[in-house]
Symmetry: C2
Subunit: 221 residues, 2 copies
DNA sequence: CGACCCATTGACGGTGGTCAAGGGCTGTGG
DNA sequence: CCACAGCCCTTGACCACCGTCAATGGGTCG
């Protein structure tokens, strides 16, 4: 999820790049537009999403520092991207990326790895969106987020009572999990009532009983 | 979606491969197992899916001849794969693939293209699963399937009254679209009642009014 | 012809969406 | 320093879409 490239490779890569700084809320990739650029995020966070004409929105992922952006695109972008806070990133054209590949073939391998990992995450999310209940989605998300923050190694559970920052609005959460903000709120409240998590404030969650969370997330029988 | 490699490249590639023949229903990739192989399908069709312990299933895609299989995997497979009919495929170890890359670097670029295209499809499916209603999912699927069968060019609508083979069971359809077979059936019936499609038999659909279908699929306002 | 499987249709119920009111936090201005 | 506005979150009441359960229909194969 985070930086898949070494500092050296990044340095080489960004030599061909433009540095860009974005205010919160800036939409810098528009779904359907010609896909001209790749991006590498240096600072800040970005949400990736698709929309329907009537305003329904599905967030397909979040991207933080080190994240490589622009893989889900053919001729045109398959998604939009919006800065969640103050974002700094490197932008380079698809053409210059091809040139970089000539110089640094290992990059191509790495990008393939990144793309493959994205695919793994996408399939996980499809299972979540297609087949899990509201509370299972919330539980799955909380554990996935803990892994992302490296509160625990991939595939392991966080320690009981681990504290986790959650710098997302309920709206973002809902649009990511295919729910409404009300359902997100209710599900979090239920987990709290059941003593599985605690919510000291809106942007912090304590994973009181990660094991119980995991049993809900994986629909253990 | 279909063959992204030229015949020459395929021929080179398959020199390092084992040829395998599978009976219908054979599960030849198991989610969670060590990801040892890549596959290229020569004949027949395959469904890719993820499951929950209680039996809920999400089909993440279908793969036909020419399809390259095994990208959504890190250490372990992120999905299972099952032969839908009699399948012939080439199987080669990840190690030998790396060796092939040395000989034929263009393959690596092509695989990256394939992975990127898969990502585009995955994001489309996330929007469908997270935010579309039952009938919108069915409409979207029918149009996507028409593109897949090359009844129409990508991004264009099929001609009115185009006839389409649909060699999927209602169960497969339901598990792909995150619905139940009853809801799939009811939605198809409704589209038929509304004169938008016709269903001469279970495995054939006539796209009577593709424009109307598209307006439903894209939630046109 | 009958058995079996799958799809369709109907009746009913539940999960989650919609609509609306209330609460808490933050920032601003008097 | 307090008051108030505005925003977001929470909670409640109600409702609708879709899932569940069950009966029926149709096609295929023995």
């Amino acid at each position: 999820m985070c930086n898949a490239l070494t500092d050296d490779e990044l340095e080489f890569l960004t030599r061909a790049a433009q540095r860009v700084s974005l205010a919160p809320g800036t939409v810098f990739v528009e779904e359907g537009e010609k896909a001209s650029y790749f991006y590498n995020i240096n600072q800040g966070n970005v949400r990736l999403f698709k929309s329907l004409p009537d305003g329904r929105r599905q967030i397909t992922g979040f991207a933080g520092p080190g994240y490589f952006l622009g893989l889900a695109a053919g001729e045109n972008n398959a998604f939009s991207a919006e800065a969640m806070d103050h974002v700094k990133l490197c932008r380079f054209s698809r053409a210059s990326l091809m040139a970089v590949f000539e110089e640094l073939p290992v990059l191509e391998r790495k990008l393939l790895d990144v793309a493959m990992h994205e695919l793994v995450l996408a399939q996980q999310q499809m299972l979540l969106l297609g087949r899990k209940t509201a509370i299972e989605r919330i539980a799955s998300f909380l554990l996935a987020w803990a892994e992302r923050l490296e509160i625990c190694p991939a595939g392991r559970l966080p320690a009981p009572n681990a504290v986790m920052k959650l710098p997302l609005s309920r709206t973002d959460l809902a649009d990511y999990l295919g729910l409404t903000i009300e359902t997100v709120s209710r599900s979090l409240s239920q987990l709290k009532r059941d003593g599985i998590i605690d919510i000291p404030n809106i942007h912090e969650i304590i994973l009181t009983r990660p094991r119980a969370l995991s049993e809900i997330a994986e629909a253990a029988v």
